[in-house]
Point group: C2
Chain length 431, copies 2
């Protein structure tokens, strides 16, 4: 049997998918039992130079050449962004095509609409490549762990941030230097905003949490902070205390609700997540029967992302995608997530204050913390060097986020506090 | 729709599967779209006390009550061992039942026969739980990485061995002490032979390699050595050189052939596999498009194994199992593996000799190595303590296994060598 495929977009990922479809036909036919034929690729600019491996005849600038071609069964959306990706994806679904997409941004914001449209017409949406690149995390959540109630999902899901933090940690570079080098090496975009502010991680968290907990996740309610405020000094103090800083996307059960958040986090050095370096991704999932499982691999790049897209294409071609899409947790359990507000989430906290080296400061600070029921687990203060301001580092026991935010504001208002107190949450992922 | 299930066996795993089917009906129905009903459980001894959560009426000692019941669609084999598991599994398949099995021993030895029998009648065999417990590694190899040519698979697939080695490494205990404690803690069987000699790891390797490379693996040709000859002294020297010892199951391409082996291996401390501790499993897979991916989780135990079996039951009930089984690499590419003999496999090597503390020994040893083209990468010799015999540790550069085995035999025959030279292979897994 022959299955015809149309691609929407031909950037890094799209052209790699196209090349794999063209050059690995034998392998793909063996694995899928189908002849997978790349029929058309939608491009915006017909003048741009393209891979020589792709025959020019497959390119088109007219979406109808794909969406109105009855022979094309699978449409692969690799344009990214919201529009025109959304309109074209919805048109593909309504035309009865099976949709494969890598677009986390689109799914995080409009996933429910797209999934329901597909369910209505008996089509399917595959989106393995939207989270974790080559890592088959969607497969693990929807299939491998299908019999589990998920308690917690903790992931390093943005390779750019992990690359920058790894570089800062291993070399002592500042954030600005590490970012500039990441851009030069191609690990960060010229405009890295969506990555470094945590937005991209939050997109992926919205998708993963909706699968893990079978609920609709209101994207805008995810607590998000990025790595762009991280000071290399704090990475050094963290290491001294036995921690490594990672940008984590966290989804976990809290009583009857779910807490969803993205923030820089200190992870104990011995934990596997602390040892995930460079542009790699890793997602730890705790199921009630499985216990902890972790999935690790390249989270971005043409070939790793294409690897996931090809797996989706194979499933769509074989017919299993439609069969399994019907049971997608998102579709079967449509309740909206009951989100626990960030100020009620308890964790340990790292605080670094720049304090005037004079008597009484520590007494005042511990007073502010103690009054809010925040107790100290560890403290580091080195001797003052050039000036009379010294960093005072406190690691707290578990305390509600809101209480700590309140205490930090109070501490910042003290006389003798030089600059804004740095606050990094600490977690000990379940095992 | 209702799907009836019969269980063959009711040990730790079987009773956990039974309890999950009984107590988690709502969750399972949501996820599978089916009502999954446990109809019968085959037991050997009707007098043995059983979980109170399982109604006595489902137990039977007559296999026909399951195999000849037309209502039972899915048969789950959790007896373990070769017989009667093999005969009953084959009967189930021939009766048109969908088989779910956790039996790695059976599949490693007779998998091809069982798979082909199922393919002939249009049935399917699901075996996620046979390797890596809760870790969805079969899913990853057959689906997530379906578009990849696999270059290498390196796994810690036996929790008992990993527990013992982790204990020896972290506490300095001897092998005998660590084993006894593992037995007392329930991490090792009263008869641990199949685990500690590497046999169980080899069973899993046979299954995983056949999926990864799409070939029939002649089990008896896998090179196997276990952890039962590991001396704690070597773990200490390894650490000094920056390595951790793990029992690894390795399958990798060598030219046009495949090398398959299970042996204790030194892994660089910084590699994620070196940080997999206790009874956990982890499998690293390198695909040509995906790059390195790693899968980590609990490799044994009632609930983790049941988690994998339940996932298989859900796939079988939903109909996707039969659809996908047809494309199992094992069935579509039936060639036997071209195995590279162990003596042709190149790696680095750790050698520890107990040498007489007299002039000329090192000269003789380096002569033996040099003559076979084996060059030294590192050497450690501490001063002699109680007696005049001292451990001499050599880390070689890459050298063919056969040459090193030959050199070791020659070294052992030298005057001034106190006891058999210890030899541990070293790998630097691809990234």
């Amino acid at each position: 049997m022959t299955t015809h495929i149309g691609l929407l977009g031909c950037g890094t990922v799209g052209s790699t998918v196209a090349e794999m479809l063209l050059t690995e036909r034998v392998l793909l036919e063996k694995r899928s039992g189908q002849s997978l034929v790349l029929k058309r690729i939608l491009i915006r600019d017909s003048e741009k130079s393209r891979s020589r491996n792709i025959p020019r005849a497959v390119f088109t600038t007219n979406p109808d050449d794909i969406l109105k071609d009855p022979e094309i069964k699978i449409v692969v959306e690799v344009m990214g962004g919201i529009e025109p990706a959304k309109t074209l994806s919805m048109r593909a679904i309504k035309a009865g095509k099976l949709l494969v997409t890598a677009n986390k941004h689109l799914l995080a914001l409009h996933g429910m609409e797209i999934f329901r449209a597909a369910a209505r017409v008996g089509s399917s949406v595959c989106f393995e490549a939207s989270c974790g690149g080559a890592v088959p995390i969607v497969l693990a959540l929807t299939r491998g762990l299908v019999a589990n109630d998920i308690d917690q999902l903790v992931g390093i899901v943005n390779g750019t941030c992990n690359y920058i933090l790894s570089e800062m940690s291993s070399t002592g570079k500042s954030y600005a230097t590490a970012l500039a080098e990441a851009q030069a090496a191609g690990y960060a975009e010229p405009d890295p905003t969506l990555d470094v502010t945590g937005g991209d991680s939050a997109h992926k968290l919205a998708i993963l949490a909706s699968l893990a907990f079978g609920v609709h996740v209101p994207f805008e309610q995810i607590h998000v902070s990025g790595i762009n405020t991280i000071d290399d000094m704090d990475l050094r103090f963290g290491r001294e205390l036995g921690y490594v800083c990672k940008l984590l996307a966290i989804a976990e059960k809290h009583g009857h609700g779910i807490s969803l958040r993205v923030h820089p986090t200190f992870v104990p050095q011995k934990h596997l997540l602390a040892n995930v370096n460079g542009s790699f991704n890793a997602i730890a999932v705790v199921g009630h029967a499985s216990g902890q499982t972790i999935y690790y691999g390249r989270g971005a790049g043409g070939r790793p992302t294409a690897s996931a897209i090809m797996a989706d294409i194979v499933e769509a071609a074989m017919g299993s995608a439609t069969l399994l899409f019907k049971q997608l947790p998102l579709l079967t359990r449509r309740s909206a997530a009951r989100l626990v507000p960030m100020h009620d989430v308890s964790s340990r906290h790292y605080l670094r204050m720049m304090v005037d080296d004079k008597p009484g400061m520590l007494h005042q600070i511990t007073g502010i913390l103690g009054k809010r029921g925040i107790s100290l687990a560890a403290m580091v203060q080195h001797e003052a060097h050039e000036d009379q301001f010294v960093p005072l580092v406190i690691m707290t026991h578990e305390a509600p986020d809101g209480k700590v935010i309140e205490a930090v504001a109070k501490i910042n208002s003290l006389r003798g506090i030089r600059s804004k107190t740095r606050h990094i949450r600490v977690i000990d992922p379940q095992s």
